[in-house]
């Protein structure tokens, strides 16, 4: 790791000013798990780390908030995955987020990694992570996954880059219709989908934050009556691993009929993938095994696998069906 200056500003305004003064060689640091990893690998060498965990009390309070916010829920960007996984204030309506947080990485990483860092981490693609390779994301002319080893890459929404978005929380938060609050010269609140950048928009980045902008909170809207949710992932290993595929679902059930259905898939596309196709199949219909199979088929209908990742299509379909069965309380077929 290259030496750097460690800055501990007292306010978010100062932190933003510092980051904006030298955008090319400063980095904001929360839990720092992905940042330190990239610095050790030689992918990044910021001359200044600007710490968010040492802010003064007022700003720290916002960024560590975890609990009710009006009729919804607020989660500060500095809340750790472990805190999120253990938070009993997230009931059945929002349990997808607890399940996602509790499944990511390892217990020790979850004790340090934060909501903000999880949403804004860089992709895990092995070509991107290799310091000696210049892929599309690093200014090269091609996505090396296209002609290379692409077992873990995108099957939906890919091109020109075929990374999968690495954030586990983003999958659950997409299903829960979350917003994110951004502080900066012009404070703004975005729908989560607006935070993420597709490779067609800009292959070099995954999020839309400008230098000096800080993601301070995620906000979950007031749940519908009877709202329930769920998240699951498939991994090669149960711990210490990134998912092969993830699915998160939100719905309300009124006499067996599904309302306000949201379906999100993770680790299948360069952004957290909302499946409006699956939602359209499910919305307003009675929950049933046959309908779930149809929804899963619809969710993956547009998939375009690369050489090594066609397995993700049936895998993701099966996973989505499993989550739908669990959330709707319809017993799984034998």
């Amino acid at each position: 790791m290259q030496p750097f200056v460690l800055s501990r500003p007292k306010t978010l305004v100062d932190a933003g000013d510092l980051a904006r003064a030298r955008p090319q060689d400063s980095a904001l640091r929360a839990g720092g798990i992905d940042l330190i990893d990239r610095m050790k690998e030689g992918l990044d060498a910021p001359a200044r780390l600007i710490e968010l965990r040492w802010l003064g009390e007022a700003d720290r309070e916002v960024m560590r908030a975890l609990g009710p916010d009006g009729e919804g829920v607020q989660i500060g960007a500095l809340v750790t995955l472990a805190q999120l996984a253990a938070h009993e204030g997230l009931g059945e309506a929002h349990v997808a987020l607890r399940e996602a947080a509790g499944s990511a990485a390892t217990p020790t990483i979850r004790n340090a990694a934060t909501l903000g860092g999880n949403l804004l981490q860089r992709p895990r693609c092995w070509y991107f992570r290799h310091a000696d390779l210049v892929c599309l994301k690093k200014g090269g002319s091609a996505c090396l996954a296209v002609g290379g080893e692409n077992k873990f890459h995108a099957i939906l929404g890919g091109g020109p880059s075929f990374i999968v978005h690495p954030s586990t929380l983003a999958c659950a938060l997409t299903a829960l219709d979350a917003q994110v609050e951004i502080r900066g010269p012009e404070p703004r609140t975005l729908a989560l989908a607006e935070l993420f950048v597709t490779p067609k928009q800009d292959a070099k980045r995954e999020h839309a934050l400008q230098p000096g902008e800080v993601l301070v909170r995620a906000l979950l809207p007031k749940p519908s009556p009877g709202q329930r949710s769920g998240y699951a992932a498939v991994k090669e290993k149960q711990s210490h691993d990134w998912p092969l595929a993830e699915a998160a679902v939100r719905m309300s059930l009124e006499s067996g009929v599904m309302k306000d259905v949201r379906v999100a898939l993770g680790h299948v596309a360069p952004i957290p993938w909302r499946s409006r196709e699956a939602e359209a199949v499910l919305e307003g219909k009675p929950a049933s095994e046959a309908l779930f199979a149809e929804a899963a088929k619809a969710a993956l209908a547009g998939a375009k696998p690369l050489r090594d990742n066609a397995y993700k299509i049936p895998l993701t379909q099966g996973l989505l069906r499993e989550v739908l069965h669990r959330v709707a309380g319809v017993p799984l077929p034998e």
Partner: protein
């Protein structure tokens, strides 16, 4: 363990290690040794604390003892423990937070010391494997590890012990289930596959300390 001419494995490594490391270090990689800000035009800095890139002091409590180190911001807690304080019980394996061999307790919470900067623990309480035994007597947990043969090559053991110690501390007075232990060590990779014996040892230690 070696008694040949009073040479120990660790002593031997220490002797050659420092010279070897310095010889292998490109000049550009050696951090400057000043704590000043080098006419840095980074701007505002009103009321912010900033230090580095050279060494700056950090104080914390290590295994019950107050410590102050002069350490550069880019030095990890793991490196500071092993290379500056010579607390070599905490192991370096993957150095990327993927294996758990470097697990320590920071304010009672199990953390990867390889992904933590030494300056992150300013004002905090750090516990390493060296702090488990007291007065030359192994802790209840350590004794249970021995009884249950919960280690083979030993490389994961100090991290494994600290994750388990964290679990015992936060669950004091509660009944522990096998799943609780399995969840607590889900970040500690044991290539020898000693997990069942670790689980048995922790359940035993939990009974003993309750």
């Amino acid at each position: 363990m070696s008694d040949r001419a009073g040479i120990t494995r660790r002593g031997l490594f220490r002797g050659i290690g420092t010279a070897g490391l310095i010889a292998g270090c490109k000049p550009g990689e050696r951090p400057p040794t000043t704590t000043e800000e080098h006419g840095d035009a980074a701007g505002p800095g009103h009321g912010e604390a900033a230090f580095g890139p050279g060494p700056a002091p950090v104080s914390f409590t290590l295994n019950g003892e107050a410590r102050t180190l002069e350490v550069a911001p880019h030095v990890t807690l793991l490196a500071a423990l092993r290379e500056q304080l010579r607390f070599t019980g905490t192991k370096v394996v993957c150095d990327r937070g993927a294996c758990g061999a470097c697990t320590v307790l920071i304010d009672g919470v199990a953390r990867n010391s390889c992904m933590t900067l030494a300056h992150d623990v300013a004002g905090a309480t750090v516990a390493t494997v060296e702090g488990l035994a007291s007065g030359g007597k192994l802790s209840v947990l350590q004794q249970a590890f021995i009884r249950h043969d919960a280690l083979q090559c030993g490389f994961c053991t100090s991290g494994m012990l600290m994750s388990c110690q964290g679990l015992l501390e936060r669950s004091r007075g509660q009944q522990l289930a096998r799943e609780d232990v399995e969840a607590a060590i889900a970040g500690n990779l044991c290539r020898c596959g000693t997990y069942p014996n670790v689980v048995a040892a922790v359940l035993d230690a939990a009974k003993g300390s309750a």
